[in-house]
Symmetry: C2
Subunit: 259 residues, 2 copies
């Protein structure tokens, strides 16, 4: 059984302020929980039904709290619309990003991504395409938001993510580093030479790349669209996580062919 205080504490981690205060976040769902239990994140507690504990083993080095909870208790601590049989609490962590990394590999930079699902999906896609670093603007939604964590599907344990004031970071960058950004007046991505290193900026869901960031973009690109007929008109834009995926794919595409 969970104490009232314990329930209150876990439910409070749905809020950013409380996550920052306690330096803790939550993850739910067997697949994600098992993956994070075995990751480099430090687990502080596992809350699950008796049946779940019967069917799942904890790693030998698990040192957090362990609580059997009823289904109705799980309903009170969950951030999901359909509660999962298990919930894990973990310590948050900060990653430091050394701008020199952008001289040797491709780094994603997120300029105010606001939707937690988009952020999680971007992290998962980045992981699939071998991007090891993501730098988020200070106004980007919180990485440890439960919806972000759920949609990373565990990729949060493999991608290094940090928050920076983007302008300050761009000023620190070596001048040789290319900064790619999707903009309406860019070059068709299919006619662009891609580097193996540098920065790719993904803009906000509604307004794209900020006015203050645009001057730093050295290589403007756009994702071409395709019209089946001239009457249809077509979508005006793509969802931010979709644009990110297509750009990541195109940057890696040649390397994946030659492999």
């Amino acid at each position: 059984m969970l104490s009232k205080n314990k329930i209150k504490h876990i439910a409070s981690l749905h809020q950013k302020k409380q996550r920052e205060l306690h330096k803790e976040f939550i993850a739910e769902g067997t697949k994600l929980v098992v993956e994070l239990l075995n990751s480099s994140f430090e687990s502080t507690g596992i809350y699950a039904t008796e049946e779940w504990f019967e069917n799942n083993l904890l790693p030998a080095n698990f040192t957090g709290e362990k609580h059997i909870a009823s289904t109705s208790e799980m309903e009170r601590i969950t951030a999901l619309s359909t509660p999962s049989p298990c919930l894990l609490t973990l310590k948050t962590r900060n990653t430091v990003f050394d701008t020199a990394i952008a001289k040797s590999e491709l780094v994603l930079v997120l300029d105010d991504i606001k939707d937690p699902g988009n952020l999680g999906t971007i992290i998962r896609t980045a992981d699939w395409f071998g991007f090891r670093y993501i730098v988020c603007s200070e106004q980007t939604v919180d990485l440890f938001n439960p919806k972000t964590i759920q949609s990373t599907m565990g990729s949060i344990a493999r991608v290094n993510i940090c928050y920076r004031t983007l302008e300050t970071m761009f000023k620190e960058l070596d001048r040789s580093v290319k900064i790619y950004g999707a903009l309406l007046d860019g070059t068709n991505m299919l006619n662009t030479d891609f580097s193996d290193s540098g920065i790719i900026v993904i803009g906000n869901e509604s307004r794209g790349i900020s006015e203050t960031i645009r001057p730093y973009i050295t290589d403007k690109i756009f994702i071409p669209s395709f019209q089946a007929d001239t009457l249809s008109g077509g979508a005006e834009s793509l969802n931010a996580s979709i644009a990110n995926a297509i750009i990541c794919y195109e940057f890696r595409r040649n390397k994946m062919i030659s492999k």
Copy 2:
């Protein structure tokens, strides 16, 4: 001012059962509302604040109801977490899909997409890449779910979408029609010859393409991943709307280059 019954009616359209009963759905947000007001969908009513009506014109052929609503009334009818100043009600419609279409152009088939945001994003992406037809399995989430409508960003007015029992439809297809599907034992998509016509099947978020549908796939493909180092492991899979986007992009890529 909105009557209690009116508020009750609009709020009821958040539910699938009521949408089916009344053959009506809702859309919110100025950009989407303006786009749908000027689309081929039949609008049945517009509900907005006085300020919104002062700043936006209705099309001359608008024949639906027009109601000025207070902000607190908008809060009671919205399906969004942050209410918009305008809400449009529209008539749902059914599209009939003639399987002969797959002989002359590429058609997307969705095998039980469950997340309304994913469905909406798939429709928006399909529109961007010039896919004019989407066939959804009967178990795919409702097209007229408010979250789906919001995430189509208006593309719902340009893409023809119908619901079919997929097995029945596959049996009706001409034998020459290729049926592409992303499967783990598929061929690397980069080594595949793509046709200009046929079917592309996108599987469910958790289990991919159903067991019952797999035998119909004539061309199994997979989206390659890229590992920055052998230690990282990488994501196990991609979000369904991301996989859809990369596949749609790759199918159109050659055509967009030669243009």
